[in-house]
Symmetry: C2
Subunit: 413 residues, 2 copies
């Protein structure tokens, strides 16, 4: 069954807000085996929202909209629903009590304006919101389902996970797409493509996509078709072909991330890690600690942004800094060694580089980054040239550091 996603809000068309909602919904919906065919965005205008909903319910069996359910004047989704589906707005006393209680728990008196959020289109199916005041609204008919969710990402995600997915599962609408994502780091897209195309035998119903990003290149294998078992076989064949060809670059699958993979490896080996960061300003530690439970293996980091902190906190010598500069192989090694001494950890990672946009030279252009690693067995640093913008250079450096650690633990290369 085809699904369509509509995101609503002037902020999306003005471009100062990045739409993360539609990707989240699409991901969850695809995993159910439903096919997301269209995505569109409209502004806060009632007539334009109406038009978008009308078109969507005409061409798609399930339509999920986000945004425009807040309490303020620029929130118009309910007005549009009422017009398109010929409902009226009715007051839900029970819902009002819930909203009031939610504010009370936070120690705030409910602002009067939030009363609006207890007004719902007549005959709506309510999808509970555990975090905020705007509930999800369903208009469920025989031949289509229209669902409107709040645009605040944390609220939308909670309602999708706890309410919408179980609800749609109960309707058994589709056959699962078969999808495997192999995640790589340390090799560029076209090199991967060159290696993988050598002996590749295309099979119908199975597609391979290359998805480059900050964390490396993801290889996505997607199979579709009515013959579930045959498609499954084709997907497995392609996946094991890829695994054989580029094995050492693959750090994980699907929802694995470099921080989660590193965490698992450190846990399994009962080892600890700490970091010494310069240009990344703390991003490496931040990434490692995206994993809940990372306190088992991550001790902490020293962000030595200023050179005197590199000296004082990490024991990098003044002479070394004067001779080689802070962005050097020598400094990266000293930072890692100093970090391992300070934290008394098994592995220490260090990053020092020129993130840009300023500070580059002919010899060390913007993006030049040294990543160091210290363990009981080895102390070394490697040079990388990322050469993009400040934030991307920083993110790539952190992922490269984690990949360096992964290969060190697994003794790859």
């Amino acid at each position: 069954m085809d699904v369509e996603i509509i995101t609503i809000g002037d902020e999306l068309l003005l471009g100062r807000t990045i739409d993360t909602n539609s990707a989240y919904i699409a991901h969850k919906i695809s995993a159910l085996g439903l096919n997301v065919r269209f995505k569109s965005s409209v502004g806060d205008d009632v007539a334009e929202i109406e038009e978008a909903i009308k078109l969507a319910v005409k061409r798609s069996g399930v339509v999920i909209a986000t945004g425009g359910l807040g309490p303020t004047d620029d929130d118009n989704t309910k007005k549009a629903i009422v017009k398109v589906f010929q409902r009226r707005l009715v007051f839900d006393e029970k819902l009002l009590e819930d909203i009031r209680a939610r504010y009370a728990r936070r120690g705030i008196e409910m602002p009067a304006i939030n009363q609006n959020q207890a007004l719902l289109p007549s005959g709506s199916h309510i999808f509970k919101n555990k975090i905020g005041s705007a509930v999800g609204i369903g208009v469920i008919e025989k031949d289509f389902m229209f669902i409107a969710l709040p645009g605040v990402p944390v609220e939308m995600r909670q309602i999708i996970d706890d309410e919408i997915i179980p609800f749609l599962k109960g309707k058994s609408l589709g056959r699962p797409l078969q999808m495997v994502t192999l995640r790589t780091n340390g090799i560029i897209e076209s090199q991967l493509a060159e290696i993988l195309s050598q002996d590749l035998k295309p099979e119908s119903g199975v597609k391979l996509a290359y998805l480059p990003g900050e964390s490396g290149v993801d290889l996505r294998v997607v199979g579709s078709g009515d013959k579930v078992e045959i498609v499954g076989e084709s997907v497995r064949r392609l996946v094991s072909y890829i695994e054989k060809k580029v094995s050492k670059h693959i750090y994980g699958r699907d929802s694995d991330t470099l921080p989660s993979v590193i965490g698992q490896l450190l846990n399994d080996n009962d080892k600890t890690v700490a970091a010494a960061e310069s240009c990344t300003g703390g991003m490496l530690g931040e990434m490692i600690t995206t994993v809940s439970g990372s306190s088992k293996y991550f001790l902490g980091s020293i962000v030595a942004y200023a050179n005197e902190i590199k000296e004082r906190q990490l024991g990098v010598s003044k002479g070394l800094l004067e001779k080689h500069g802070a962005v050097s192989e020598e400094c990266a090694v000293e930072m890692a060694v100093g970090c391992r001494r300070v934290f008394e950890c098994d592995y220490a990672l260090s990053i020092t580089g020129i993130s840009g946009p300023d500070g580059g030279s002919e010899d060390k252009p913007v993006g030049t980054t040294y990543i160091g690693l210290s363990s009981a067995h080895t102390n070394f640093a490697r040079r990388f040239n990322f050469g993009v913008d400040r934030q991307t250079n920083r993110a790539r450096a952190c992922y490269a550091a984690l990949e360096l650690l992964r290969r060190e633990i697994l003794d790859i290369d």
Copy 2:
């Protein structure tokens, strides 16, 4: 003139890739005064890309597409362009040389597959790509412009900034929207709405939008209409009304961020800052250093994820940790005080909290966070309850810490 954005790629409909491109383009295009009316996404299928382009050039004067220009088999945008606009693919020798030279500079031999990227639809306008191999392709006719850009965000952004914006400016297609965004922190959306609605006199052609996010609530004032000066007056009136009503919560305007505002304040006052982080794992330092030039005032941070690091590196006493726990007002104060001692800085910020999803209790539920500040004049910590998901709790904590510093420097409250 109406503009439409098409993003191309299976990954967008499968939802594992967040589309940041369309927001970037919409933002830049809106600032030119062009009206982004539609956004849509399609997969990598040639026929579906064709349909999307046909519909778009029929209803919009300027169509900008991203994605599907890579070297691999799943990149189909050029095939669709050739069909829709009845062109053929021709080989561009000069472009091939450029691509080969780019690889040579990185010390890599050009993979053979990248030759594809020198194939262009006949009669195309080329928009140069300084970062990667896929150039932007323009099909420019009297009554419409169709522009295809690569989907890799850094490449797309560079081409938009350096090529597309100057190109469109030269065509003088629109009248600038008048837009001011006031950025707030420390007050929730409905409280803002309640305060602002008290004496608000709506004026036609001017809209106020509330945009809540991790960094606080943005208030966007947008004016449109033919009478540029009258609209400008209305926008200015609304902006100064808001500034009067909620002055202390407004930290900046438009492209200001809390890190950039803090940076400016520290620079202006010739002061330095450092951070002691626990649950945020380094995110506060990472945020501060998103600002190029932050080395002038940011010395570094100590990420004390493990309790023994809080003791050893920050001097938090064992007794305090045993009595009050690491997530406590007392610990936050000690962390800040210790941080200021270690870094010899003017201001030290500390963050300790329960990010979740585990670790909460009745007394200290997930999201409970203490933020400390130490300066020559004061040492204190404040309790916050963010109560959302792990990553959002962490981001809100960092913004709240920066806002605490802003108010301290400016002596607000």
